[in-house]
Amino acid sequence: MSQAKQQQPRTSPIPAGTLLARLKGVSKAYGPVQALSDVDIAVHAGEVLAVLGANGAGKSTALGLLTGRLGADTGLVELLGGDPRDAGIRRGIGVMLQEGSLPDTLRVIEHVRLYSTYYPDPRPVAESLALAGLQDIAKRLYSDLSGGQQRRVQFALAICGRPALLFVDEPTVGLDVEARRNFWSVLRQLRGEGTGIVLTTHYIEEADALADRVLLLANGCVLAEDTPAGIKARAAGKRIRARTSLSLAAMSTWPEVRSSSIDEGVAELVSNDAEQLLRRWLAADAGLADIECRPLSLEEAFLTLTSPTAKVPLEKVA
């Protein structure tokens, strides 16, 4: 009896928080270019980990290592209790790459059917098609699809095998707003089923909307790893806008001001000490009006943390 239960592949979800994949002290160089230096990444069941970073920060290399496309120079790469370069281990993952297209002369449903054979317990083809929103175009040739529809086929291939761990690399590039929202809701649904999801994206709002944790890469190092709210807090600071009669030159000398700009009399100041700045500003400009104060967006936090002038308060950077 118990043996039969073990044979049964994952009908019950993996408990959230289970460690599914990790990089430990991993470095990887391409010739003289150090793509990753001593990077640690952990991915758990039932969470969305967003990997952010500028081009060349090491996102693709990290993904390539976790999905078995690359080998590390040093350090440990571990996936589902094995080596991702082992095709058998990869039965537990689904991957949607950033670039690449599928053979033009196969139909949508034929692509999904073929990929489903790679997995021991695939979703029914109709379910994969429905999750990716492809029911109505299942019989179309891949070459006849729009760019967004082609991306959805690639997504269907990534999820057709009920992977415990899903890698999606820039999944919503080229999707319209509605398609993107639908995609997000599917990712949330999969996370709810216990799937671990690694997401790389250029869209900060996507990470903000989806991620449980954000990993910030810069120059091959982990710059920060936190919740989206935590990342925002790390790049602590608020943005204050107000209509003022003062000159930008005068305000930018104040010690509380981190950055400043002005447009037709409306100034925008970024500060780590918003209260103190506000007091000073109100004292200096009796006519200050239309005051507006809000926290930095994840994007602004991201820019602050990765800008070359940022004082990096993080343990990772040696």
Binding site: K24, E78, L80, G81, A87, G88, R91, P103
Partner: protein, 260 residues
């Protein structure tokens, strides 16, 4: 690094390997059948040339039975086309489009990819042989026993191996559509210089001598021997040469694939 594994090992079942291989081969076949620029020329060229040179054009070469002789050589021409194009252009396109990258991170066993391309080449090769043979028997007055025909089929199908390997190597060297040009630059001159279109004896002696460097010439000698149009064929030497060439092309391809 001997750090203990900490990630959770899943109880993942095994899918049927046979099913994967069959599905992969079926997809590859469907894919190329729907690609007119592949399917039409690889099937039509050998047949059209055979009809022109063996049946329509008059003339006699020594004491050879022209229609039978050319059935063997156009058979060779017909089977190496899909092998070269399937592997060469197929791999080059799939590398450029990123399809291969996606396959590499999928759980597909690597062998299934190559099996699919070999299976596709063999299906096209067999189709070409059947088309040529039917034409030769119906319109070329060729007489051939079933046993001889089966031997010819076996020789030609096994003989696709070095061309699959050569195609694979080309596919690792060039990307995308330029592979079509490169394959044609190899395929057509090699076919002519191996005597597949018209017998080598009409060529200058120097070209007849250097024919030994072409794998297509070695395969054609075996096919001509099997079909009774050439005597004293040293099968062992030709087969060994073809095997050695297969191994060489495979090694070259493997080196290219490893360096990337």
């Amino acid at each position: 690094m001997s750090s203990p594994l900490q990630t959770m090992r899943l109880d993942i079942g095994r899918p049927s390997v046979l099913r994967i291989y069959l599905a992969e081969a079926t997809s590859e076949l469907v894919r190329v059948i729907r690609t007119p620029s592949f399917a039409a020329p690889t099937l039509a060229f050998p047949l059209v040339f055979y009809v022109m040179f063996a049946i329509v054009l008059p003339g006699q070469w020594g004491d050879l039975d022209k229609a039978t002789y050319l059935l063997a050589t156009y058979g060779v021409f017909g089977v190496i086309g899909p092998a070269l194009f399937g592997f060469g252009v197929g791999l080059a396109m799939e590398r450029q489009q990123g399809w291969l990258e996606l396959k590499r991170v999928s759980p597909m066993p690597t062998g299934a990819y190559f099996f699919a391309k070999i299976a596709m080449s063999l299906v096209f090769a067999l189709t070409t042989i059947v088309l040529l043979s039917t034409t030769a028997i119906a319109f070329g007055g060729v007489h051939i026993t079933l046993v001889t025909w089966l031997k010819l089929v076996a020789t030609l199908l096994l003989g696709t191996m070095p061309f699959c390997a050569l195609g694979l190597w080309i596919g690792t060297l060039v990307k995308g559509q330029s592979a079509v040009a490169v394959v044609n630059l190899v395929y057509l001159p090699m076919s002519v210089l191996s005597g597949l279109w018209i017998p080598l004896m009409v060529f200058p002696p120097i070209l007849q001598k250097i024919a030994v460097i072409w794998p297509a010439w070695h395969l054609s000698q075996m096919a001509l021997g099997v079909i009774g149009q050439s005597h004293d064929v040293r099968y062992g030497m030709h087969a060994a040469t073809l095997l050695a060439m297969t191994a060489m092309f495979l090694s070259l391809a493997a080196m290219r694939l490893r360096f990337k």
